[in-house]
């Protein structure tokens, strides 16, 4: 086994091939200084430039360096601020647009009320009181206009088990209020003669969907969290017993009695329900000539 040894020329350091890195690490001072010093020692630099102009050159050079460093520092600080500024501007824009959208929605509701009133007046002028009454009833039950009146307030929630230490948002589906529970409740109220229903302030229309999504229930794609407060406007004396008799009322009575679900029914004298947002006109046809155009 012979050693692998590279023959080295005499007078050459063994690590000559590393000269680049070695030079980089050790000769870090500009060679110009040494040369200038040698020149000064050797022949005196009196024939050089006037010392004043060199002083000025040095001064301006240092001013430039200082300016460069300060500009870079300001630039670095600014860049962070620019990104934050952009984010804040976007947040402000989002807030402004949301407020505008809310205001537009409120205007929409007000305008619908005006239209309904104008329509009622016009029909009254034409002597079509019956049609006007039908339209009003339809407006109320479809959620097109706001309604006030006496009715029921039903508060439902899942069973809370403080002794267990668990919260009401139990991971098991059977322990939560499900969409079909709310659907049964609402259907019971409709069947009992309710004229307008809201769940947690969300007015129900004829096309409203009540669906479960994890721990929340989506009503018209709006997530609502328990406890669910269902307000219904209807004839005060008949609504409550009719609801208690309905299948929805009985189902909830079962849930409350057997599983400890929260089910409170209270009648109130004046309930104000807002109109539904986002009602869109889908079908319309002109009346046939000479008829009432039903």
């Amino acid at each position: 086994m012979s050693e692998n040894r590279v023959p080295v020329e005499p007078g050459r350091a063994a690590d000559a091939s590393m000269s680049l890195l070695a030079d980089l690490m050790s000769n870090t001072l500009d060679a110009g200084y040494a040369e200038a010093a040698a020149r000064r020692v050797g022949g005196g630099d009196g024939a050089g430039r006037h010392p004043r102009s060199r002083g000025i050159a040095l001064f301006t050079g240092l001013v430039l360096i200082g300016g460069l460093l300060a500009a870079a520092a300001a630039e670095a600080r600014d860049r962070g601020g620019a990104a934050n500024g952009a984010r804040l501007a976007l947040v402000a824009e989002v807030t402004r647009r949301s407020t505008a959208a809310d205001r537009a929605a409120a205007d929409l509701v007000g305008l619908r009320q005006q239209i309904a009133k104008a329509r009622r007046d016009a029909l009254a002028l034409d002597g079509e009181a019956a049609a006007s009454a039908v339209l009003d009833r339809l407006d109320r039950s479809t959620g097109a206009i706001a309604v006030t009146g006496p009715g029921l307030v039903v508060t439902v929630d899942a069973a809370s088990r403080p002794s267990d230490g668990t919260t009401t948002a139990s991971p098991r589906a059977e322990d939560r209020v499900l969409d079909r529970d709310l659907q049964a409740l609402v259907n019971g109220l409709w069947a009992a003669g309710a004229e307008a229903i809201t769940i947690n302030g969300q007015r129900l229309t004829t096309l409203s969907a009540i669906r479960s999504a994890d721990v929340a229930i989506l009503v018209d794609y709006r997530p609502l969290l328990p406890p669910y407060v269902v307000r219904a406007i209807g004839a005060p004396r008949t609504l409550e017993p009719a609801f208690a008799d309905s299948s929805g009322g009985r189902d909830w009575r079962l849930l409350a009695d057997n599983y400890g679900f929260r089910f409170e029914v209270a009648s109130k004298d004046d309930i104000a329900l807002p109109a539904a947002e986002g009602l869109t006109l889908r079908v319309a046809h002109a009346p046939t000539a000479g008829g009432t155009g039903r």
Partner: protein, 110 residues
Amino acid sequence: MIGALGLAIGIALGVVLQPTVPLWAQPYLPIAVVAALDAVFGGLRALLDGIFDDKVFVVSFLSNVVVAAFVVFLGDQLGVGAQLSTGVVVVLGVRIFSNVAAIRRHLFRA
């Protein structure tokens, strides 16, 4: 000392005036800063070694900045901008460290 005064005045001017760096120069600003720092520390070490020459200092500063920016610009054109920029920063950083160590040796005899 004219040198420290000039540097201080330059920094003060930069802070007060807040010059906006033009958009085309912004990518080369970090390299220019590192090159300027290298020239400054080289000058300081030469001063402490007793071989300071102001002409060499000014020329070294200007040429360092221009050459570093040019190397990065060339690298950008060839598509190796990031790598060349890293290389330049590494070399200048090594020089800065070495000069600072020499300055430390002068100042603290340690």
